[in-house]
Each structure stands twice: as structure tokens, then as C-alpha cells.
Subunit: 196 residues, 3 copies
């Protein structure tokens, strides 16, 4: 499943310049991303909601691993398709920011609601050169990330977990548990479907 485009940070240590506003990624990868941005703007960003299969097809051309039944709204911002994995009926709502410097996985039937920010990147605040640090995000099956939430680097949202609207998650979310607030805290269990 890995390709040379799946680890965009590979030579970032050669240019530890974020503190000076310098580029974090290699030129070649930046060109690839530029092409991706142009393609999405021309071929997908204006397409009506029901054309999700077309958008999924386009994402696959750039390395995404997406089930044809997955839903990706036209107004999402995907940083790099090569770092995106979506299962059956997984969905990303309008205006979602998918900042996938590291891999983002959204499993079967998991829902990421409108204007949520999935953010895999941060900086090492204890290192003077302020290097980019990235960790993958995993949203397990049947989980729901509600509107305008924030999911930070390294988060694993367990199966059926719920992060309430505007919730901010930076750690692990237990399966079938409901979280709200900033920082997110558990409030109660979610009812599991029969047979689980």
C-alpha cells in the first residue's frame, strides 16, 4: 500500500526551516501537491453533491485508497490524497479540512461532519528548530466526528465513538463512548447496535 508519495516528510529533516518560514517539504513533492490542488479545483471543487463517485475516482488517481461508496463532498480540502484511506460509506462533510501530512483513515460507516479539521501535523515545541511532527489519524468504523470538531495528530477514535460538535480531541477516544468539549471529555456510553 505504501508508495514513494505516502511519506512526504522523508527529506524534511534536510531543511529544518519552519522557524524561519522556510519550506518544510521537498520541491518535487510540492510540485505534485500543486498539480493535485489544480486538478481538484478544475475537476471536482465545483461538482454537485451526488457526484461523489467521480470525486473518489479522481482521488484514487492521486493515490487515495477509497471505497467507491465513500462520500467526499466537493468543498473538502484534502492536503494529499496519497495519505487518505476511506472505507465503505465513510463520509467527509462540506468544508472538512483533511490536513493529512500523515495518513488519515476513515473506516466503514464512519462520518466526519461539516467543517471538522482533521489535523495530522504539529511542531515539536521543545526543539529550538521547531520541526514539523506528524502522526496518523484513525477514525474507526461507525464513529461520528460531529460538526466543526478538531481531531489532532495521533488520535484514534474507537469504533462507534462520538466526538460532539466543536469537540477537540488530542488523544484516544474509547469505542462507543461520547465525548464533548475542549479538551474533549467522555460524557456517557453510546448504545451499541444489536449484536455488537
Amino acid at each position: 500500500m505504501r508508495s514513494r508519495f505516502n511519506d512526504p516528510t522523508f527529506d524534511s529533516t534536510a531543511q529544518p526551516l519552519p522557524r524561519f518560514g522556510g519550506a518544510t517539504f521537498a520541491l518535487r513533492f510540492r510540485i505534485m501537491r500543486f498539480l493535485w490542488t489544480i486538478c481538484w479545483a478544475l475537476l471536482a471543487a465545483w461538482t454537485p453533491s451526488p457526484l461523489s463517485p467521480w470525486r473518489a475516482w479522481l482521488l484514487r488517481r492521486f493515490g487515495a485508497r477509497i471505497d467507491p461508496t465513500a462520500i467526499v463532498r466537493s468543498s473538502v480540502k484534502i492536503w494529499w490524497p496519497g495519505n487518505l484511506i476511506m472505507g465503505k460509506h465513510a463520509s467527509m462533510g462540506p468544508g472538512v479540512i483533511c490536513y493529512n501530512v500523515a495518513e488519515i483513515t476513515i473506516e466503514d460507516f464512519a462520518i466526519v461532519s461539516q467543517r471538522t479539521h482533521l489535523c495530522t501535523g504539529t511542531h515539536d515545541v521543545d526543539d529550538e528548530s521547531f520541526p514539523l511532527k506528524s502522526r496518523p489519524i484513525t477514525i474507526r468504523s461507525n464513529a461520528w466526528i460531529a460538526a466543526e470538531a478538531f481531531v489532532g495528530p495521533g488520535v484514534i477514535a474507537g469504533e462507534g465513538a462520538v466526538l460532539g460538535a466543536r469537540g477537540v480531541a488530542t488523544g484516544k477516544l474509547d469505542p462507543w463512548m461520547i465525548y464533548v468539549g475542549n479538551p474533549a471529555k467522555p460524557v456517557r456510553n453510546r448504545k451499541r447496535p444489536a449484536g455488537e
Copy 2:
């Protein structure tokens, strides 16, 4: 005051498909909403700030009950005017998202500041079919919802209540009380005007 357009959820139970990314609303209502979106884009979204009376007039054509002195900025996103009620000098600032799947009422002199999200819709997380649930929002007179706040389904903000910037309210806000945080918590009383 009720019309057939005031209860858009009326046949949503006939198509309980959100879990599969299906449409929640009936085709006819979706066409009405499409027309509304086009009309606002063509006739209001680009209009300068002082033309608020014109925008209020346009909203009334689609079923809104708005006092002529109410202020609606051109960059607001109103889901459906038939579910909007605004009193004298009530206002919605730039970029407010008025997701009024159920009725949203903003009473006299109540202020909803920039980029706030008034959100009447959620989903029943304990029901396997994940149906849309909606509850009305009421902002009573002289209340202030500050910048970039979030007001969830069923919230009643009492007279003169204040929800601080970025505050997230999901329950009742007591009159003349100031709330901040996510989730919002009361911090102190607001001084009432003389005679109240």
C-alpha cells in the same frame, strides 16, 4: 404562522438513509431550498452592509418573519428562511451560519456576532439508522451570542444572556448570566438595565 414549509422534516422518516449518505429531505423541499440558495446568491450575497432592509424583504418572500429593523449581513448562510424569526433590531453578523432545520428565533435587540453557528440539527446516536433530530433555538431579547460561538439544538438563551466568544452552548442559558467556554459554563451575572 405555520405553513407547509415550516416543518421540512415532515416526511424525513420515510427515507432514514443518512447512515448511507442518502438524502434526508423530500425532493420538493430540496428544490425550494435550491431556489432559495440561487436567489440569495444572485440578489443578496454581494449587497453592501446598509442594504439590510432589502435582504429582510427577500427573506420574507421565502417565509421568514423578520422585523424591518432587523439586521442580516450579506455573508450569513441561512438554511431555510421559513424557519427564521427575528425581532426589532435583532441582528446576525458576518459569516453567521443559521442552520435552521428547525425554527430559529432571535428576539428584539438580541445580537448574534460574526461566524457564530446556530445549529438546530443533530443525529440520534443511539439509533442504528442515525436519523436527523432537530430542535428549535431561541435567543431571547437583549441576549448576545459573541463571535464564533456555537449554539446547539434546543438551546434557549434567556433574556440578556451572554455567550462569550467561541463559547459552546448545548442547554439553557439563564437570563442576564454570562457564559464562556466549551462546554459553556456560567461565570458571573450581567448588570441588568435600570427598571428590569
Copy 3:
């Protein structure tokens, strides 16, 4: 360093009309701001990332005091350049809202990340006329305001302080301390660079 444009609130008390949706600022200043908005849209908002020095030059023409090495992304929204001060390698990321009704200072090497809202204005909720109140914001050197945070009126972020993603600060942030949450709370010390 002060000019007649640095204190835009000077005659706001003459028109205490925000409760009625009236204009808070004098006509002449509003014309200046209108010109500024047009200039930024025509000459800067569409410019590519590396042209930061050009954007800094343009900001200086409208009264900003910005070091040539400072980074200002083209998608920032600056309310009024006359109230902006940025040091060496200070930066404002994509989509930052710089609502500088009062002065905003971002010192050397301080970083304000994407879509953060620096908000100098609020209203006096205990005064019936609801007047605008504004207080300056200072981000000291090497501080980091992470993505989508909110920094309220009067905040002083000490040297090297960190406000985590989506954090909401309304008071003082101690130097070399890390804060997260809404409202923001200290979580741990940040490692200081050698020699500090």
C-alpha cells in the same frame, strides 16, 4: 510611532449606536478602511506565498510597522494595518483573522498559525448602550499560537508561550508555558532554548 490612524476609536463615543446596528467608526476612517480592503484584494490577496515581502511593503504603506522578514500569508484578514506591528521572522499563517481595532503586536519569531482569530474588540455587556471596548494584543517573541486558536482583547502571550490548537485565551499567558482548551489552561512548561 503613533499617527492619527492608530487610534481609530477616538470618536466612537460620539456615536454609541452598536445596540441599534449603527456604525461604530467615523466616516473618514471607514473610507480609509474601504480603500485598504480594495488595495489588499487587488494587489495582495491572490499573490503566491513567497511574495510575503511585497505584502509587507504594501502593509507598511497603510501604516503597519513590519520587519521585512515577517511573513504574512495572502489569505489573512487584517482589519487595519495602522494597528499592526510585526518583528523579525514573525508570521501569520493562512486564513488568520487579525481584527486589530486596537494594536496587535507579534514579536520576533512569534508564530500565529492558520485560521487563528486575534480579536481586540468586545462590547461592554454591563452598559446598556453596548459600546465597543478594545484592548491591544501582544504576542511576545518565540510564542506560538497554534491553528484555529482564539486570542481575545488584552491578551499578552509571554515569550515562548504556546496556545494549543483551538485554544481560547482571554488573559495573560505565562512565558514558556503551554496552554490548551477553552478556556485555555496551563498544562506544562515548554523547554527553553539553551542560554535563556
